[in-house]
């Protein structure tokens, strides 16, 4: 494995009595697309702010591009692109001007910035909005502009904190497409998300985080293989009959997960399990066979759903 661009060992962040990040270990290889998946409040954003060399860790070790962020914050940040959870574009400036002033923060010459700004506006599909006010952009456009801004210094590592939260499905797909292109160009991506489909789409490897700790690590496919079955059968019997039906379902599938509104049957073959259920004389109101997702992995690991 080539020298990692990010190395964290027992990385921790404490706010008074509250432990936001509780001793996590991970490495990110150059060119890799690495994700932190977990519910709100899991410590993902705090981790990102430490990796972004703005928030000082309270314990453990952290190296970014081989440097300690405590001593080399500005140097490290010169090589990062940051897309925060909440857009912090300057609403008092126009679209293109946001890129121009931001490029200056990296000490880049004006000519270089102007050239890159135009290319990035193309990339972000905002070339025709160059003179627009930031306030007049849609949520998806603001996110794309924030990503364009994060790329003005041609970063080694792009950090994205919940990049598509709050966007409609179409805007999300446009954004995923742009991020996928960056990944193809070899940019190292580190992103947090609580959307499993996003993690599956974008991440080569991810860690599942809950309550400041890492619960599991691996590629999306490997995590699903390890912590879930190939398929999931979802059956509903009506909310008052679920528990009763669940008792009669014991022994069916590899594992059962009884949720308030439905029962999940983990199995290599969902259709076959459904047949066995009907043979038992049980008639679910609805049934659905699907492939296992990271949501199932998370449920297995924590006993809770990702989106609560």
């Amino acid at each position: 494995m080539p020298e990692p661009v990010i190395t964290a060992r027992q990385l921790s962040k404490q706010y008074g009595d509250f432990t936001a990040v509780d001793g996590i270990d991970f490495d990110v290889a150059p060119g890799e697309s690495f994700g932190l998946l977990g519910p709100n409040g899991a410590g993902k954003s705090t981790t990102m702010r430490m990796v972004g060399a703005v928030s000082t860790r309270t314990g453990g070790e952290l190296r970014i591009l081989g440097l300690d962020p405590d001593k080399h914050g500005p140097d490290i940040r010169s090589q990062l692109g940051v897309v925060p959870q909440q857009d912090n574009l300057d609403q008092e400036l126009r679209v293109r001007d946001n890129l121009l002033v931001y490029g200056r923060y990296f000490g880049l010459p004006r000519g270089v910035i102007a050239e890159r700004a135009d290319a990035l506006l193309e990339f972000a599909q905002l070339a025709d909005r160059a003179k627009a006010k930031v306030d007049d952009l849609s949520g998806g456009m603001k996110r794309r502009l924030t990503i364009a801004r994060a790329l003005i210094n041609e970063p080694r590592i792009l950090l994205l904190d919940e990049p598509t939260t709050g966007l409609d499905p179409q805007a999300r797909h446009i954004l995923w497409d742009r991020l996928f292109r960056l990944k193809e160009q070899g940019t190292t991506l580190v992103l947090t998300t609580h959307y499993m489909d996003e993690a599956e789409q974008l991440c080569d490897r991810l860690v599942v985080v809950d309550k400041g700790r890492i619960m599991a690590e691996g590629s999306p496919a490997a995590l699903i293989r390890e912590y879930s079955s190939r398929e999931v059968l979802e059956v509903r019997f009506g909310s008052d009959k679920n528990a009763e039906a669940a008792e009669r379902l014991q022994g069916i599938g590899d594992r059962l997960e009884v949720l308030p509104d439905r029962i999940l049957v983990y199995s290599e073959n969902g259709e076959a399990e459904l047949e066995r259920i009907t043979q038992l004389g049980l008639e679910p109101i609805t049934s659905l066979v699907r492939r296992s997702s990271l949501e199932d992995v998370f449920l297995r690991l924590t006993g809770r759903s990702l989106i609560e």
Partner: protein, 289 residues
């Protein structure tokens, strides 16, 4: 784990050229210019943002002195035909009005714009994600405010000249004196504003019960000595009084003991330094959560 061994991570050893990766070397090169010029980049950004209200800023910069010098220097002055001390009321009041204008602009720029940068238009977090540090961001903002103060005060001074309100050539020094007065107040207000987490109307309160009374009790419109002694202390701690008196010394040679002039200079300088430090710590703390 050698790379992470805390004993091997001391600054000199992990900076020895041979041990550094290509990435680390590029990072150190990339951080060099922002480490030196970060504050100026921020100032450039803020001045660009000020262009948004350039027109109204110019109109007020010219209109404000016209209105005040007419109303007080000519209007109110007709009630004070004997002038104040050796000089006409216009000459007496003008340097203080100049300092007051600087304080008003400084208060404008250090209240809501400071809080907004953390809350409603959280650009400071965006800046801090780049190599620029919290201290540099606060310094850059204060530089931009100084530029605006300088422009406002210079225009004001030009209008004062038109009114014939500046008898001495040293009067031009009233410009830096007024800018310094504005910065002394602005630094303190900025340090307070950038610490506000929840906006519960603290800033309007500060303006109404802090800044406005300062205008009234700082010897602006009448000499401080005419106030009852138990109110004069407000003037002594008020940067505006020190700035106004200093302005009078340079503008018309107001006769005060040399030690008192020195006190004005030192007091304003100390407030500026303390204010800037407080703003810098407030920024660093808030950005480094």
């Amino acid at each position: 784990m050698t790379a992470l061994d805390p004993t091997s991570s001391g600054a000199p050893s992990d900076l020895s050229a041979g041990a550094l990766s290509e990435d680390a070397r590029r990072a150190l090169a990339g951080g060099a210019a922002p480490r030196r010029f970060g504050a100026w980049y921020v100032a450039e950004h803020r001045i660009r943002a000020m262009r948004g209200y350039l027109q109204s800023a110019i109109v007020t910069s010219i209109g404000n002195p016209l209105v005040y010098l007419f109303a007080l220097g000519i209007g109110l002055a007709s009630l004070v035909p004997q002038g104040v001390g050796e000089v006409s009321y216009l000459v007496f009041v003008a340097p203080a009005l100049l300092a007051t204008a600087a304080v008003t602009v400084a208060a404008d720029e250090t209240t809501y714009p400071m809080l907004a940068g953390f809350k409603w238009n959280p650009v400071f977090f965006g800046m801090n994600a780049s190599p620029v540090t919290g201290t540099q961001i606060s310094a850059g903002i204060m530089i931009a405010i100084t530029v605006r103060l300088l422009a406002t005060v210079a225009i004001y001074f030009a209008v004062m000249l038109l009114f014939g309100a500046v008898p001495l050539a040293t009067g031009v020094l009233a410009i830096p004196v007024a800018v310094a007065t504005g910065l002394a107040v602005g630094g303190l207000i900025g340090a307070y504003a950038s610490r506000i987490e929840d906006d519960r109307g603290q800033l309007p309160m500060l303006m109404r019960f802090g800044v406005t009374p300062m205008f009234l009790f700082s010897g602006t419109f009448f000499p401080l000595e005419t106030l009852p002694p138990w109110l004069q202390w407000i003037g002594w701690i008020s940067p505006l009084w020190h700035g106004s008196e200093l302005g009078r010394v340079v503008s018309y040679g107001y006769d005060e003991p040399a030690w008192l002039t020195a006190v004005h200079v030192v007091y304003l300088a100390v407030l500026i330094v303390v204010g800037l430090r407080l703003v810098a710590t407030a920024f660093t703390r808030r950005l480094n959560k």
